[in-house]
């Protein structure tokens, strides 16, 4: 990979300052996506701003569940608070990548990267989370704006993700057989504001599955999804799965997510 200048700021302010100073700078959290991308020559930032020294990790549970951006997938998966408040989220984190990736990858890094097959964006949208940044709070529905793109401004950095507590939530993933990213992942949640269902892996980015939400609105049970046929229009098609197959899997995974919901 091409070389770069390495920065390791000790505070969010310094990080933002460093990022703003260099137009081609990139933040690095766990590096689980950024480093492979750079190794393949798909990204060649002039400067890497490593957020590792911020020590911005940890979970707090109150009327909502707040996970700091630098919390690793392994920490989320193991957190007693997460398991208690939103077991589906702990389960989701426990199945991202593999154990080694989970030791490094962070929730903040994952959502800021917004890989169209990543798991966390599904949880954020499915639960109606709020993304905290150094500058503001952004609703998840507004945060994920498309393939690898988010509402983050230049230099803006995710500091935490705040999840409202659902009555029940579940996540089911059908992994891509090769990469093990989600080929389809469906997050369902029965929330105070109604049923939410989000899908990852199906297109250019996470989206809410309105058909699924509507059906589950009639009763948060997998039987409610019988006969629900998700349209394959706008759903991605590749070597591993046609749009039709992915669309089919959305319903199947939605059912399994509902059955697994706690």
């Amino acid at each position: 990979m091409e070389n770069f200048n390495y920065h390791r700021p000790a505070s969010v302010d310094d990080a933002v300052k460093a990022a703003k100073a260099k137009p081609d700078a990139k933040y690095m959290s766990g590096g689980m996506t950024l480093i492979p991308t750079m190794k393949q020559g798909l990204a060649s930032p002039s400067d890497i701003i490593d957020l590792g020294a911020l020590k911005n990790a940890g979970v707090s549970l109150g009327s909502s569940l707040v996970i700091k951006a630098g919390t690793t997938h392994a920490e989320v998966a193991a957190s007693a608070d997460v398991k208690k408040a939103i077991p589906a989220l702990a389960g989701l984190a426990a199945n991202i990548g593999d154990p080694h990736v989970r030791h490094k990858g962070t929730i903040g890094g994952s959502i800021a990267n917004n890989d169209p097959a990543a798991d966390y964006p599904a949880a954020c949208v499915g639960l109606g989370a709020t993304i905290h940044t150094n500058a503001r709070k952004i609703a998840a529905d507004d945060f994920f704006t498309g393939m690898f793109s988010t509402a983050l401004e230049d230099g803006e950095v995710v500091t935490a993700v705040e999840f409202p507590l659902p009555k029940k939530a579940g996540y089911a993933k059908f992994p891509n057989p090769a990469s093990r990213y989600a080929m389809i992942g469906v997050f369902v949640a029965d929330t105070a504001g109604g049923v939410r269902a989000s899908v990852t892996g199906a297109g250019s980015g996470v989206f809410r599955a309105k058909d699924v939400e509507a059906a589950l609105g009639n009763g948060f049970a997998s039987a409610s999804l019988n006969g629900v046929k998700v349209s394959a229009k706008d759903i991605s098609s590749d070597l591993h799965a046609s749009a039709e197959y992915r669309a089919h899997l959305i319903t199947v995974m939605a059912k399994r997510a509902v059955d697994a919901a706690k």
Binding site: M1, E2, N3, F4, N5, Y6, R8, M28, G31, M32, I35, P36, M38, K39, Q40, I48, D50, G52, A74, G97, D98, P99, H100, V101, H103, K104, S179, R180
Partner: protein
């Protein structure tokens, strides 16, 4: 080039690195610890797995410079006083390796698995937890047996 220092297999080491120097390059090329291998360039095969501050990570997907001050254990650091770690022993006893190339990562990942999940591991758990380690030789059958036996002896 910036200098970094680490504690690798209990020994203080230091060296100059570029920003882009990967942990695995530092370990293999600067420290000459060639037991840690590189089997792919997309962070999937797990041949490069080492323990960093006690946790399994892929050394091919970590910048050396970001781990200044870290404690690292590679496969060379597992045996104590000339005696192999129980997990190493179990891999030998159960024929859990053939060509040996994935083995260092496989053994480290297995130790990490036991560290996280305890000694009593089901076959399903072991197979699931080996998600990040690819072996082309053994068909995993004997690796699973080795991890089970090694876990019990840890």
């Amino acid at each position: 080039m910036p200098a970094i220092s680490m504690k690798v297999n209990g020994e203080a080491v230091c060296g100059d690195v570029e920003g882009r120097t990967l942990m695995v390059e530092f370990i293999r090329e600067k420290l000459g610890l060639t037991g840690t291998h590189v089997g792919c360039d997309t962070s999937q095969c797990g041949a490069c797995v080492v323990l960093v501050n006690g946790k399994a990570v892929k050394a091919c997907t970590a910048l050396a410079i970001a781990h200044d001050g870290a404690e690292v254990t590679t496969v060379e650091g597992l045996a104590k006083d000339g005696k192999m770690h129980p997990m190493q022993e179990a891999f030998r006893d159960n024929h859990g390796l053939q060509c040996g190339f994935c083995t260092p990562g496989m053994v480290i990942a297995s130790i990490d698995m036991v560290n996280r999940l305890g000694k009593d591991l089901s076959e399903d758990t072991i197979r699931h937890e080996l998600e990040g380690n690819i072996c082309r030789c053994t068909g995993y059958h004997n690796i699973v047996a080795a991890v089970k036996a090694g876990a019990a002896n840890m």
